[in-house]
């Protein structure tokens, strides 16, 4: 087995430096269009890191670099190094399927599979062989749904289709689906963008809870949301990283003029 095993590296990595993911000199192109330019960003472990910036600034592109989902877009190209627990995940020989097991993702629009609620959550554990019996699978599904705060709402209709749930419930189902494979990192691409305020506050509370167990990267449009849920904030504009730091600092005493203008609503 010539490929470096992520699992081995992960198990030997020291937890003491709080950096979970370290991205160095990331540039990305969609065909001839440059979406990211030399972005360097450290993402601390067990924190919520918010990526903010005007639309089209490359937030989502950066997020999708972290689980190499850009690979699936024809014509997309990414350069630079990204280390997850010290292991480069950009290499040609990385098993992207395994990487994505460790780096889960929740999308902007809820996208449950056209299957039952149970099957939606069980899909990941099943393909990764996390359960050896139906009973074990049920335990995993239940705990994922509980973690996502959805269990009480759906425990009586696990067999009904996931697409029949409300928008907010669908998004929490997608979160449950993502955490059911026991990832270490959760990427969230504007997870509340398609939801109403009540569902949004539920999701935000959930993100805060999940911080205990996961490293979370959230892309968001809303400054208030970033301020509410994140400990770290990175501000991107036109594909460049403008400023990064503790959320409280960024929002109270930004170092860059550009950041201040954006936060106070002058641009974006």
């Amino acid at each position: 087995m010539a490929r470096p095993s992520l699992l081995l590296a992960a198990s030997t990595a020291e937890p003491s430096p709080p950096t979970k993911i370290s991205a160095q000199g990331i540039s990305a192109w969609y065909g001839p269009i440059r979406a990211l330019e030399n972005v360097c960003l450290e993402i601390p472990s067990n924190r919520v890191t918010a990526l903010i910036g005007p639309s089209g600034c490359g937030k989502t592109t950066f997020l999708r670099c972290l689980n190499r989902l850009n690979d699936t877009i024809p014509g997309a190209r990414v350069t630079g190094t990204i280390r997850l627990d010290g292991v480069d995940i950009m290499g040609q020989y990385i098993d992207v399927a395994e990487l994505r097991t460790r780096v889960g993702m929740v999308f902007q629009k809820p996208n449950p599979f056209p299957k039952s609620v149970f099957e939606n959550v069980a899909y990941g554990p099943r393909i990764h062989g996390l359960a050896h019996s139906r009973a074990e699978l049920s335990v995993i599904v239940e705990s994922a749904l509980r973690h996502a705060g959805l269990w009480d709402e759906v425990k009586d209709r696990l067999a009904s289709p996931g697409t029949a749930l409300s928008g907010g419930q669908q998004q929490r189902l997608c979160i449950a689906r993502a955490i059911a494979t026991q990832p270490e990192v959760l990427l969230m691409d504007e997870p509340a963008a398609a939801l109403d305020p009540i569902a949004t506050s539920l999701i935000e509370a959930l993100i805060d809870d999940l911080r205990e167990s996961y490293t979370i990267v959230v892309v968001t449009h809303s400054m208030q949301q970033a301020a509410r849920i994140s400990q770290h904030t990175a501000f991107l504009d036109h594909g460049r990283l403008v400023e990064v730091g503790e959320t409280t600092e960024i929002f109270s005493t930004p170092r860059e003029k550009q950041t201040e203008d954006y936060i106070t609503g002058k641009i974006g």
């Binding site: 989902l69 699936t72 399927a97 395994e98 993702m105 996208n111 449950p112 990941g124 990427l187």
Partner: protein
């Protein structure tokens, strides 16, 4: 003759157009419609009655003359010879009237021939006079109505709408005519051969049944073996086309580089456009002998035109259909689902097998059913490649026959239209229609449901 009349009517109508337009010019801006519409309306008013008279006359005259001719023959000379004989007599008279010399004919018939050609001459002149009168009268009447107050555009557009409806009804009429033709002949056929006999009988030998003038009902029209052959060929074809087509679709949608897709997709489309005869010929020329050789090498006796060869080639023929419909269905699956699956760490294969295929299944099934319907309907391939032996056998190495082949063979002999063999072809045709209709209905419903779920 009607051709030249129609042409002159159209020329006259063109003239009416220019006259009408010229007549409306002086109205100026006070008119409700522009002069073009006045011209068009006048042309329509002239052309339609003229064409109607011509067509009605051309349709009615031959039948009318034939009836008059038969009535004019001496009593008793045709009554005894039955329908076939009457048709023969008429054909002889027609040939005479067209100036062909036929030997050994009755004087009565020769005289009738002369009479027919005389009548035709009269008919021609009368038609010409009638059409000319119609054109003139309708022109004069219509011309008086060209006034500034006439809403010519609305009238022309109403006429156009009627034209559109007439055109649209052609499709409806086709279906009706198809059904009527199939049903009428089939009912006729079932009067000779009981339906149960036809559907479940296993002895198919239409040529023998009528050689000895025996009346049917002896089991020579048991079509079950023909159906079995069709099913066998279709099953082999599906066994080839469905797995291959699915694999190709999966590969082109999920795996292939854009470059590969750019040439493989058009290549498959070209394959879909290759005429069936080319496939038939290839089956006869290359595939059937190759299978026979392979069978011999394995110690099997393979008939030179095995159902296997036929099914294989039919399968290759419908393969592009399956792959392109499966391709459409797979690509219609929202990108979200694909990414959701990849994001939980599924491999491409798992994404395809567990998420994409189930989501695309209605569309794929619809495509498979359409392909099956095509395979059943297109098994004419056997006409060339397979034999014509109808036996119930599921041996893919033996010869076989199919519904379409039997239709073509039954009608290949130039039998009279009320011959049971001709009728049997229509009965087989009706069966084919019912089966493919059912398959299509199901397929379209599935495909439609698939596209509805995509939209939601």
């Amino acid at each position: 003759m009607p051709g030249s009349l129609i042409l002159s009517t159209l020329l006259f109508a063109a003239a009416a157009f220019f006259l009408g337009r010229a007549a409306a010019r002086p109205f100026g801006t006070g008119a409700r419609s522009r002069p073009v519409y006045h011209g068009a309306l006048l042309a329509l008013w002239v052309a339609l009655p003229g064409l109607a008279v011509t067509v009605a006359w051309a349709l009615a005259q031959p039948a009318l003359l034939d009836r008059l001719l038969l009535a004019g023959l001496p009593a008793g000379s045709v009554d005894a010879i039955g329908t076939g004989g009457r048709a023969l007599v008429l054909a002889q008279i027609h040939a005479l009237a067209e100036g062909r010399a036929l030997p050994h004919l009755d004087a009565v018939i020769v005289e009738a021939g002369a009479r027919l050609s005389r009548w035709r001459e009269i008919g021609r002149l009368a038609l010409f006079a009638t059409v000319a009168a119609t054109l003139l009268v309708s022109f004069l009447v219509a011309r008086t109505r060209i006034t500034p107050r006439l809403h010519a555009r609305a009238a022309v557009e109403r006429a156009l709408t009627v034209g559109l409806v007439v055109c649209a009804s052609v499709a409806l009429l086709t279906t009706v005519a198809l059904l009527v033709a199939l049903l009428r002949e089939t009912v006729e056929f079932f009067r000779l051969v009981p339906p149960a006999e036809f559907l479940f009988g296993t002895n198919w030998d239409p040529q023998v049944a009528f050689r000895s003038d025996q009346i049917a009902g002896t089991g020579a029209f048991g079509a079950a073996s023909v159906f079995a052959g069709t099913l066998l060929v279709a099953a082999i074809a599906m066994a080839v086309a469905v797995p291959l087509g699915l694999l190709i679709a999966i590969h082109l949608v999920e795996y292939a580089r854009p470059g590969t897709r750019a040439w493989a997709k058009p290549a498959l489309e070209i394959l879909a456009g290759v005429p069936t005869v080319a496939y038939f010929f290839a089956a006869l020329l290359a595939v059937a002998p190759a299978i026979q050789h392979a069978g011999r090498a394995l110690g099997l006796v393979v008939s030179p035109n095995s159902a296997l060869a036929v099914g294989l080639v039919t399968g290759i023929m419908i393969l592009p259909l399956v792959s392109s419909l499966a391709d459409d269905a797979l690509r219609a699956v929202p990108q979200d689902l694909r990414q959701a699956s990849l994001a939980v760490g599924a491999t491409r294969a798992e994404t395809v097998l567990h998420v994409l295929l189930p989501a695309a299944m209605p569309g794929i099934l619809g495509g498979v059913l359409l392909a099956l319907s095509r395979a059943v309907g297109e098994t004419m391939i056997v006409l060339m490649a397979a034999g014509l032996v109808a036996t119930i056998s599921l041996d893919p190495l033996g010869t076989t026959t199919t519904v379409t082949v039997q239709i073509a063979t039954l009608l290949a002999v130039d039998a009279p239209f009320d011959d049971p063999r001709t009728l049997a072809a229509y009965a087989l045709g009706l069966t084919l229609f019912v089966v493919t209709f059912g398959l299509n209905l199901l397929a379209l419903r599935l495909v439609r449901r698939a596209s509805r779920t995509d939209a939601s």
